[in-house]
């Protein structure tokens, strides 16, 4: 989610909320015997508010599970998640009297909370900048979960195109797909010298096909755009003019594969922090609930 003008009210609300909480804290800490701590009335109030914000932030997951629920727009929930979740961190510090947790449970909670907040801030920054980068660098961005399927389609498409000129089938599935497209007949349109055909077949089978086939093309020559341009230009010099459109198509397929590879990398950066943020948040909420019950009891 981009942090734009629509966040202004949330930003100011959070700043004002924090300022009010801080203003209350100063006299509270000064006049409280033994200093501010979680067990005082004001400390408990801070704790309740902070934990309520944490629960609200955690409810975003639930909200996303049920998108049809009429409980406010998901974007509003997302803004609330972002700002109230962030605000909960200083509020919890006010609750604890700026202690990082003297008990085992509270110490671990503060550790998890810090990781959750730091990962959340990192995520917010990434979510703000990376989508723009992806739009610019990956024109054919697709659904992440569909990348293997798209990659398979690209492979089939390349197999068919190569088979059209060489008569060499690389896989049955691609031929079957191609046969389906042409009404059951695969036609070789171009006649060429055997050594030229062999060169094309060698290039495709050793360089291009493995690159397309692999989920990540890292380590292959075609993974680098500059290498790819040079290799395809070289290939064109060896092949007759009539086949150059085919070579252009193959180069286009490689370009799309590179975009898919880049999308995988960027997607993992963009969403990888969630593997830390979300599970730890749930653990934190569970521990927070236990802490609240036990602390109020004892």
């Amino acid at each position: 989610m981009r942090i734009d003008q629509t966040h202004r009210r949330w930003l100011w609300g959070s700043i004002i909320g924090l300022a009010v909480a801080g203003a209350i804290y100063i006299p509270y800490d000064y006049f409280t015997i033994g200093g501010a701590r979680g067990g005082t009335i004001v400390g408990i109030v801070y704790g309740i508010i902070g934990f309520a914000f944490m629960i609200f932030a955690g409810l975003l997951s639930l909200r996303k599970r049920f998108p049809v629920w009429r409980m406010g727009r998901t974007s509003t929930w997302m803004r609330g998640h972002l700002w109230l979740g962030l605000l909960s961190y200083p509020i919890i510090f006010l609750h604890s009297g700026f202690s990082f947790g003297k008990g085992t449970l509270t110490w671990w909670m503060m550790v998890l909370f810090t990781i959750v907040i730091v990962s959340g801030i990192m995520g917010a920054i990434l979510q703000h900048y990376l989508p723009k980068v992806m739009t610019r660098q990956i024109p054919y961005e697709t659904i992440y979960a569909e990348i293997p399927r798209i990659r398979a389609q690209l492979l089939d498409e390349a197999d068919v195109k190569v088979a059209e000129v060489t008569g060499v089938t690389m896989s049955e599935s691609s031929m079957a797909a191609a046969a389906g497209d042409t009404g059951g007949v695969i036609v070789t349109l171009v006649q060429m010298e055997a050594d030229v055909r062999d060169e094309l077949t060698r290039f495709y089978s050793t360089e291009m096909r493995p690159f397309i086939e692999k989920q990540r093309g890292k380590g292959y020559s075609l993974a680098e755009r500059s290498n790819s341009v040079a290799m395809f230009a070289n290939l064109k010099t060896l092949l007759p003019q009539a086949i150059h459109p085919l070579v252009d198509d193959l180069e286009s397929i490689c370009e799309e594969k590179r975009e898919l590879d880049k999308q995988i990398v960027l997607h993992r950066i963009l969403h990888g922090w969630l593997f830390v943020h979300v599970p730890l948040s749930f653990a934190l909420l569970l521990m927070g609930a236990m802490h609240a019950v036990i602390a109020l009891r004892y």
Binding site: I150, P245, S252
Partner: protein, 497 residues
């Protein structure tokens, strides 16, 4: 061989429209982690719960004195409400009753205090190894910052915020109290350089030549006669009280100064010689003992020297600067040994009562009888006050490294016994001005000098109620013998309790 055509429609058609129903590797992994992390936390807490160990929930480490309770939170965190043997209610806050099970805590100013704070409100637990006696100054200031009493006006200053702010001067100095001691002592003279000491040699007296703590009484004295000191230390003379036994603790018996005694501090310079025929002094004791000693000595002497009957008496006393003689009080010549003893005794006592003893002591003389003879004088009690602030906690041992005069600044100029020479509060504030963690500051919490609990009002000896097994948690006190808790029992109690 058509070129690649990629329209929005063709691109869209590449996708499986039900892709979101599939569980990809990442989705599975994320879901697994979302379950795993809370599960790990839950199992961790459950593991402690099964062992009836509430340690993770502790709000902080216990103080060292309570660390023996270990994982037995219920030693202090007893149910607030009980109905018979069943615990009722959710809360298990520490109550005063729980503290008083093991501790004595006489109430503070019971007749005057407007409210009694709970034990836990002053003695904060779960903050580590700090001694629980070290209560925060705020706990005292909550009342003494604006002191109110149940009836009448407060006896103490009504607005004290901390040791530095509005703490009154110590009472003896604030009220210009005069020392009621009767021993005439001029500190200024005694601290003067070049003072004539034993054998007319110049000396420079140090404070510890006269003032020592009870524990240091047995160490060698610079101006005392060892044999006399030993005898004095084992007597019941009020000037040299019985010493407490030396213990391992280095500060025992070293908090306050013992009252200086003649045997340890004075006798080398202030000899009690009573007659030129005798080199020894009279004992530093009651007048009757002194009188008996003189009569005994003179009787013994005249038996050995009967020719001394015709010699006119001439009492004298040797001072450190030379010999000071007094003319004989009586020019009578004795005609018998008894008369000689009587006359010489009268002269010697005249010297002692009116000169030697009176130099330091206040003596009260009885009325002369019809023959002009008077009885033995009465020596006023010394009234040496060993502790001027009896309700405060202070230890000279804690201030061992300090030169006495740097605190007792008026000592070197004091010329009268009536001068109260304790340091002023300002002297203490020079060091005790803040947090000990800051350079140049010593702690200044109220607890350093003051006691909250009225320990003098303790009604009787404390009656303990717990065995070692109970406080250590080996026995819960409910069954006939120590019970080893089983896991199944623990689980059941976990849910029932």
């Amino acid at each position: 061989m058509a070129g690649r055509k990629r329209t929005a429609k063709s691109l869209g058609q590449r996708h499986d429209l039900h892709y979101f129903q599939k569980w990809g590797r990442w989705r599975v992994l994320r879901a697994a982690l979302m379950i795993a992390f809370p599960a790990i936390a839950g199992v961790w807490l459950l593991g402690y719960a099964l062992h009836r160990d509430a340690a993770p929930y502790s709000s902080g480490p216990l103080s060292t004195v309570h660390s023996f309770t270990g994982k037995r939170c219920e030693t202090c965190h007893a149910p607030v409400l009980k109905a018979g043997f069943v615990s009722v209610g959710f809360r298990k806050h520490v109550t005063d009753e729980a503290c008083l099970t093991c501790h004595q805590a006489p109430e503070h100013q019971a007749a005057l205090q407007t409210f009694t704070p709970t034990c836990a409100s002053c003695h904060t637990e779960h903050i580590g190894s700090q001694h629980l006696r070290q209560t925060a100054a705020e706990t005292c200031v909550q009342c003494h910052g604006d002191l109110k009493v149940k009836s009448g006006a407060p006896h103490y200053q009504s607005a004290i915020y901390n040791f530095e702010k509005k703490h009154p001067e110590f009472a003896p100095l604030r009220n210009h109290t005069r020392d009621a001691g009767t021993i005439k002592l001029n500190h200024a003279v005694h601290m003067r350089a070049g003072l004539l000491g034993p054998n007319s040699q110049p000396v420079q007296l140090q404070c510890q030549d006269c003032h020592r703590t009870p524990a240091e009484q047995h160490q060698p004295w610079k101006y005392g006669e060892p044999s006399v000191i030993e005898a004095a230390l084992h007597s019941e003379n009020p000037h040299s009280p019985m010493m407490p036994p030396e213990t391992v603790h280095p500060g025992t018996g070293r908090a306050h100064m013992a009252a200086p005694s003649y045997a340890t501090a004075c006798q080398s310079c202030h000899a009690l010689q009573f007659d030129r025929y005798f080199s020894e002094s009279v004992p530093h004791d009651k007048p009757q003992v002194v009188h008996d000693f003189i009569v005994s000595k003179l009787t013994e002497y005249i038996k050995k020297h009967p020719d001394s009957l015709g010699v006119a008496p001439r009492p004298m006393r040797i001072m450190f600067g030379g010999t000071i003689s007094r003319e004989p009080q009586s020019a009578k010549i004795a005609h018998s040994a008894e008369e000689w003893v009587k006359l010489r005794t009268a002269d010697a006592e005249n010297l002692l009562w009116h000169k030697t003893c009176q130099q330091c002591h206040t003596l009260k003389y009885p009325q002369s009888d019809q023959n002009g003879l008077s009885g033995l004088p009465e020596v006023a009690p010394s009234n040496i006050k060993p502790v001027w602030l009896p309700n405060a906690i202070f230890s000279h041992y804690a201030h061992l490294s300090l030169d006495c005069k740097s605190c007792h600044t008026r000592t070197i100029t004091s010329m009268e016994t009536a001068d109260v020479l304790i340091p002023s509060v300002g002297t203490c504030q020079e060091c005790h001005n803040g947090e000990p963690t800051k350079i140049g500051q010593a702690q200044n919490g109220c607890f350093l000098c003051h006691q909250y609990h009225g320990w003098k009002q303790r009604s009787g000896p404390f009656t303990p109620t717990k065995s070692i097994d109970q406080v250590r948690g080996a026995y819960d006190g409910r069954g006939p013998s120590p019970v080893r808790r089983e896991t199944a029992t623990s689980i059941a109690k976990l849910f029932l309790h």
